[in-house]
Amino acid sequence: MIERNRFLDVLSHVVLMVGVLVVAFPVYVTFVASTHTMQEVVQAPMPLWPGSHAWENYTTALFGDGSGTAPAVGRMMMVSLITALVIALAKISMSLLSAFAIVYFKFPFRMAIFWAIFMTLMLPVEVRIGPTYQVVADLGLLNSYAGLTVPLVASATATFLFRQFFLTIPDELVEAARMDGAGPMRFFKDVLLPLSTSSMAALFVIQFIYGWNQYLWPLLVTTEERMYPVVIGIKRMISGGDAQTEWNIVMATAMLAMIPPALVVILMQKWFVKGLVDTEK
């Protein structure tokens, strides 16, 4: 601290507290709404203190209400989890392999492939939804995990990240490995993989969140309820209008949908920050 300034110190904390409160307020209301009965929530103003119906609401949200009218979120959470994990892991392993190939092997069209991967940065899902949908439909992948994940697993940023990282590994290591009689795959497995664990962890956090939060793509490729990820499920629940929507259940679902990625971010904060800074550079 450069100088003592009581006023500014207090102001700093006040501003930050206000920031935190404003950021947290929507989620607090969501939580409160998820603990009341539907009648309590739809009256205006709804209570701002947690109610006593949390258990019923969350079990209804997770397992359905028995009559089969409300979709069970448990199933959707599974779909989301599988999708997010597959996307994250597949992205990491595919870009590890391609970066390895690009850096350590000489083969025809190496640079062409590198630039092709680079160009995918410029083609986010949103600008090519129509034709991509057609490809997936033609391959018969609608309503399947493959359809949900495969089109999203190519990653230019991850490939770059690993390429940059591999370029910093000294040649002596490669030579030493070769002297000891290690083939290329052995070198990859025993030298490169252990060295890149921290990059892998950082990427995993980012990609897991990316996969969990996908919205537009699942909206197109899933038409059956059993394949909805939870993010789509929530959206479907509010399509009825204020009167029919069971806001308490919707808000319980919203909480459930937020918790896994938020946990990943908070628990792996160090990797998350590293991942953000690395992938965008």
């Binding site: 103003p45 391609s98 090519r128 034709p131 490809v135 920050v273």
Partner: protein, 279 residues
């Protein structure tokens, strides 16, 4: 061999569709895809004459500039104070970064609930103060709603980058300025803000990209592009025209326009990265 999976995926799901989009944008087909004819640039011409498309451009421009400036301004302010406090920076950081993890569509639903005219908590408070809030009817309110939701989600991201930027400014610079008698306000504008300009510019590009593409979920969940078409941003319109209105040629032409925008933004971003090396 090692590179085969990556190449297959990008070929099949990136380049082939992009090519298809280019081709389709030059074609006209009916809703069932039974007849296709080449129409040259008619689709683009129609877009250019289509008032709703031009309006959508305007909406997107308003929306993304609001999101970018509000998001950057608020997070810069928070980051400045977080950098100032002696203890607790890490705690504040933890408390501020988690909205990044919330899915856009979920954020849209949550904000819709807060501001819903009949049951929302905030809209009730606003009405008590004599402010007629109705995002379902008033397009300004609808726009404010999606801007707030989008900014809320993006603050954490900007905050992290600003905080990292501020912490990398050498303390000696600031101490020197303090010795020369510059107060905190003056120091911020003459030292910290100029040194942050690479970060700010980078965030500007990222935020515009975010507002263009990643906010689809927010718009679809909170307003569905309504009331009327007043919050239909470009990406929403591509989706709506292609999948709801079945105008494939028009939708593909819009995709092509979007691609051009992304390419332009990416180029701007990379030129800037080169510049930063010299900085």
């Amino acid at each position: 061999m090692l590179i085969a999976p990556q190449v297959t995926v990008i070929g099949l799901f990136f380049f082939w569709p992009a090519l298809q989009a280019l081709l389709q944008s030059l074609q006209q087909s009916d809703a069932f895809g039974t007849s296709v004819e080449w129409v040259g640039f008619t689709n683009f011409q129609r877009l250019w004459e289509d008032e709703s498309y031009l309006e959508s451009f305007q909406t997107t421009a308003v929306f993304s500039s609001l999101v970018a400036f509000l998001g950057i301004g608020i997070s810069l302010c928070l980051a400045y104070f977080a950098d100032r406090v002696v203890r607790g920076t890490l705690i504040y950081r933890t408390l501020l970064i988690w909205p990044y993890a919330v899915a856009p569509a979920v954020a849209g639903v949550v904000w819709l609930f807060l501001f819903s005219p009949s049951i929302g908590v905030v809209s009730y408070a606003l009405n008590q103060w004599g402010f007629e809030w109705n995002a379902l009817l008033n397009s300004r309110h609808a726009m404010a709603l999606i801007v707030m939701a989008a900014v809320w989600k993006q603050i954490s991201y900007n905050f992290l980058f600003f905080l990292a930027g501020l912490q990398s400014i050498p303390k000696s610079l600031i101490e020197a300025a303090a010795m020369d008698g510059a107060g905190p306000w003056r120091r911020f504008w003459t030292i910290q803000f100029p040194l942050l300009s690479p970060t700010s510019f980078f965030l500007l590009v990222i935020n515009v990209v975010y507002a263009f593409f990643d906010t689809f979920g927010i718009v679809d969940a909170a307003t569905k592009g309504g009331p009327g078409k007043d919050t239909a941003i470009l990406v929403y319109k591509v989706y709506f025209d292609g999948f709801k209105a079945m105008d494939l040629g028009g939708s593909a032409a819009q995709s092509v326009v979007l691609m051009v925008i992304v390419v332009a933004l990416t180029v701007v971003q990379f030129r800037f990265v080169e510049k930063k090396v010299n900085y």
